[in-house]
Structures are given as C-alpha cells and as structure tokens.
Symmetry: C2
Subunit: 342 residues, 2 copies
DNA sequence: CCATGCAATGTGAGCGATCACATTTTGTGA
DNA sequence: TCACAAAATGTGATCGCTCACATTGCATGG
C-alpha cells in the first residue's frame, strides 16, 4: 500500500504538501489537483495508525456492551454509533457475554491500548460498575444508567419515574393488589423500576408482595405467569394487575394468563415497559412505558463531545418516559355498561 | 501516558527487552519480573498505533452494519464480535441508517484507513453489494448472504430452503392458496425467501398471487393483514394460508386477522420466519422457520480466520434452517373430531 | 584457563504520518 | 523596478513501537 512519500514523489511535491492536502491546509489549487490525482492513482489512504501516533489522538471511542442483544441496548448502541460517526469518531466495540471482572478488565485494557479517547458502557450491569470502579481510567466514561452513581458521566432515562407512571395508572384504575415481575438482579434498570413500583405502592398504602425476577426474555414471563396463575396469586379475588419490567416478559405473561383461562384485561391488567414495536400488536395490545433509546444514544455522544471538546460537562438530564395506554389495562372491577379504558 | 522507554528506564533495561517481555520472547525470569513491576507501576499500556505502524498489522476487523436494529442482524453481529474477540481481533464498527453509495464508500474508506485486516458486512442490502462492487478492496470481505454472488467470502443460512420448508408444510396441510408477505425490496434475504415460496408453489402447480412487501416491522404486517382482510383476499373461500417473511410482521398479521374476525389457524394458517424468542408466545404460538444467527456470526469469523491465517478459503457451507411447527398452522379444511396439527 | 557457542540483552533504523520551523515563491504598493 | 509581507512549499525531527543485527554474559568442553 502506498504511503505519503509515494504520493509526494508522484505529484512532484514534498510529503508535507501532501499532508496539507489531506488536512485541508493552504495549498494552491493547481498543486492540490496534482496531489489529488496522485492519491487517486495510487489508491492512497492515509494510515490512521501513523496519524494517531504523532497527533496522540486516536479519534476512536471504545464501546463496551454485555449480554444478549436486547431491544433497548441494541437501539441505544446503534444510535450512539450513528452519532459518533456523524461527529467523526470511530467506534471500537468490545462485547462479551459474561461480565466477570476479568473479562471486563481485559476488554477495557485492550481498548485503552488502542488509546480510545472515551469509553461508553451500554449495558448497565451492576457487576460492570463494580469492575470499573477499581480501575483508574484516564479517559471520560459515559454510561446509560439512572441510579445516580458517581465517578463518570451519565445519561439516562428515568426508570424510576417510568415505573411510577405505570403503577399509578393501575392504581388510578382502582387496582389494589399490583404484582411486579421484575428484571434480573444484576440489572440497574430493573432495580430502579422495582423501586418505582414499590414507592408508588407505599405512597398509596397498598401491599407490597415480593416481586418475582425474570430474565428480560419472554420465556421467563411465561414461566412466572404460569406459576402465578397456578398458585392462584392472580385473578379471582387476588391480584388484578401486574406490572412487568419489560415488554418481552409481558408477552410471555399474556400467554400464560391466557393458557390459565384468565382474561386480560377482564381478570387482570398488565403493563409492560419499553414500548417495543411489537407491543401494540400483542393480544391484547399492551399498555406500556415508552423509552426513547435512539435519543438516549444520541445524548450519550453529545455528552461525550462536550467533554472531549474541553467544555464543562453537561448537567445530567434524565429523560422522562411516557405512558402509552392500550387495551391490556382496564378498571379493576368492570362496571356494567361501561367502556373499557373510559 | 508512559511509553516503552519510560518502562525500560525504570526497570534498568533497554526498550527492546521491554518489547520482548511484551511479546513473550526469551527473557530471564528475574529481568521479566523487574519489567513487569515497572509496567504496573507506570500503568503502562503499549500503544497499538505504534505497534500497528511497524508491524503493518492492525489486528482489527471492520464491521459494516446498516439499517434498524433487527433481530437477525443484531444477533449475528454480537456473535461475530464475540468470536472476533476470542480470536484476538478488535472490531471497529461503522453503522449507518442509509445505504446510499456515498455513505457506504466513506465508511469503507475510513475502515481501510484504519488498515483493518478484513471487512464484514452484516446487513444484506442489495445496494450495499452494488456499492462495494465498484471499489477495489484489498482485504478479505465476508458477508452473510445466500444468493450466491461472487467476489467475496460468504457464509449463509439457506433462506431459499427455509422458505420452501415453510410453504411445503402449508401445502402438506392441504392449503391451495398460499399468500406471501415478503420483506422489503432491498433485502437479499427477502428475495430468497420469496423465491423459495414461489418455487414451492410452482412445483405443486399452485397459483402464485403477487406478494405484498412489508418493512420487516410488525406495523407493516398489521397494515398488510388489514388490507388482505378488507379486500376479502384471505379466509372464507379464498387464501387459507399466509407465509410471512419474518416473525415481527407475523405478529402484526395475527393482530390484523384477529381484528377482522378471522381465526388463526381456523380460518387462516400463518407461518413466520426466524423464530424469535417471542414467537412461541404469540397468540396463537407461531409456526416458523428457525435460524441460528449466533452460529452464523461465529462461522463468519471462522471463515475469515481461515483466510487471515493464510489457509485456503473454506468451501461455503449453507446452514439449513429448521421448521418449528406450532399452533398457528392447521389443516386447510378442519375435519370433525380431528386434532389440530395431527 | 581459554576458546566456543548459545542465550540474553543492547543499539540504531524505520514504519507513516504531523509538527515546528526554514525557505522559496508570489503578490502588492511605493 | 524593487522592497517586503504573505502565501506556498520544503526540511528534518518526532511519535512509540518492532525489526535486524551487534554485543555481552555465561556455561561448557578441551
């Protein structure tokens, strides 16, 4: 592959002039044309390694993603990528299934060896935070999480507020026993959603039944739903509403309830979280809490740019999710001649 | 940040000895220990830019992803990442929403500037192939696509065979008018699935009604389902089965059919494609064609490694997807006293 | 005790760009 | 026409590492 000297020779100029053409510095149009022609002829592409070496700027950002390809993380990641590209940054990704300290550290190690200018943590796994807590990382780190930890930049959607929105909606419909199917224990977001559910129940003086934990996946929602129905914890005189921590688990729940002969929302109301594109087509369409992941990803990059450009960090702003009411929720005790969701 | 000379000085050795420690060459244990201590003390990490410059090996692979975060691409990408990491490669991602030639070319340009050792194309957009066709790329390129194009490494799941499997299942159940909701026109996979559907129908001498194109998303399935039902193209004496090109569109379809008062599988059978984790919880559970995306991603890396290690390319093997029969399909004319899916 | 050979370590060059600074060319007004 | 500043271009050093080769250290055998 050709280098800058080859181009310079072919164009009959010095390597520095080629460098100037590359970096849009002052070069006479005629000279620039000759250089451009040489570049095209040799199919020359400047080596970013050489450039990074001398400028001490890699123009790269390291992205750390963990776990399965869930809806939220995938969308956030893609939006972040897009934004990074638009800002002229390369994104190097280090994904891993397990989040043990060792693989986390080695991933970060490799990224820092690349001299990435910043690190982005997409999946908010509590273990991930513990892993990075020990390391002294000398680049800005931005993450999407809403529990208010210290020590790094944070951009978030207010999970706590979203959960309260969902539960308040159920309370407003007259439900008095509201169960919660929470996310996995390692998830920061799951913990925040649970806290929102709990807080809202306590504020209304309602009983807090210990929540069951799912895996974020539909199958776990189905398993939990089956158990709830078989133990009689839900329906007929017992809990009339379930707040599920995401939409995928909700569809499993709907399936299980249907299998058990319980009607949604007749016997039990269900609220999800995320508003994935499919949830409006569930049977019945799912009441849920919408999160704007694309916006989240874009804001992460924006926050990072602020710091990378040497400006003071932005005040952390938590976006508020939005309640989307659909047919899966209804009044606790349906009155005769009354519309559902009236 | 410390460099190799700083470490050498602190350890009382030459920079070359430090380099040897870094690269596991012969160094006396005592010397190695001193160097390691210096590395730890200075929090030293070798610069991959400097290393790449001199070795002419970046140890990086460029990943190009386009479009929305769909289930298949996301999973393939993650699996590929994992495999690349395991093989000691860094993955730099260039994602973009639009797939016009210009942004495609600029993305590739940037990656090649990084001196990536290979390129990976995850989303099989026909425009993407046209875009790369013109470029002379001097690194191996691997892509996941099944149409048998030339000029690059290809790893795939046999979409054509999968579609035939689905349609044959419907034909076996006695359906004689089988509609198809295909994917977007730009998708190579969508075209292959359509071809499989068409081929199977023709092999059985059944009528081929022009398929309607969706967007891969549930909403488009709903819109198409609503139209089919309202024009009377489906159910009551007309088409009794629909082959939908992915599971997301299928749930929209199920929703629309249910809204129109048509019963699945009583009035119309529906088959999807992909077997996403939610499809078993659809109402009714969806008969679909399972694809192993994780395996696909891993095989892409495997194929790449073969070439990167200087061995002859592997023969392209097409994985065959698997038909998963569930409750959304039944005999065309249900016989009395006979089980569904008997 | 010294020549011999191999292991361990050191020295200097160079990868391909940019930076700082030196030099040449060009344009302008007196 | 010439002085002189500004614009355009060139020169050499440098980033942090690895490579090729030179040198040193140390055990071994005659």
């Amino acid at each position: 592959m050709a280098n800058i000297t080859d181009v310079a020779k072919l164009a009959g100029v010095s390597h520095q002039t080629v460098s100037r053409v590359l970096n849009d510095a002052a070069v006479r149009p005629a000279t620039r044309a000759r250089v451009d022609a040489a570049i095209r002829e040799l199919n020359y592409r400047p080596s970013s390694a050489a450039r990074a070496l001398v400028t001490r700027k890699s123009n790269a950002i390291g992205l750390i993603a963990t776990g399965a390809p869930l809806y939220g993380p995938s969308n956030t990641m893609l939006a972040f990528n897009e934004a990074a590209r638009a800002a002229g940054y390369q994104v190097t990704i280090a994904s891993m299934t397990s989040v043990d300290r060792a693989s986390m550290v080695s991933a970060i190690e490799v990224l820092l060896g690349q001299r990435v200018e910043a690190l982005v943590l997409i999946v908010a796994d509590v273990a991930a935070f513990d892993a990075i807590a020990g390391l002294d990382i000398d680049v800005p780190l931005v993450t999407a999480e809403s529990s208010g930890r210290e020590g790094f930049l944070s951009v978030s959607i207010d999970q706590f507020a979203g959960a309260r929105l969902a539960v308040r909606h159920l309370i407003g419909l007259g439900h008095t026993e509201i169960l919660h199917v929470k996310g996995p224990d390692w998830s920061v977001d799951a913990a925040e959603r649970e806290r929102g559910w709990r807080t809202e129940l306590e504020a209304s003086g309602l009983a807090v039944v210990p929540p069951l934990a799912g895996t974020w996946l539909a199958d776990s929602g189905y398993a939990i739903g089956t158990e709830l129905a078989s133990t009689g914890a839900v329906g007929a005189g017992r809990a009339t509403a379930i707040f599920s921590a995401n939409d995928q688990m909700s569809i499993g729940l709907l399936h299980a309830l249907s299998d058990a002969g319980l009607r949604v929302p007749g016997d039990v109301s269900v609220v999800g979280f995320d508003d994935i594109p499919e949830s409006v087509h569930y049977s019945p369409p799912l009441t849920t809490v919408r999160q704007d992941f694309a916006d989240l990803g874009a804001r992460m990059m924006q926050t990072l740019l602020q710091v990378l450009d040497g400006r003071p960090p932005l005040d952390p702003v938590q976006a508020t999710p939005e309640l989307i009411v659909r047919a899966s929720t209804a009044r606790a005790i349906p009155l005769p001649n009354r519309e559902v969701n009236a």
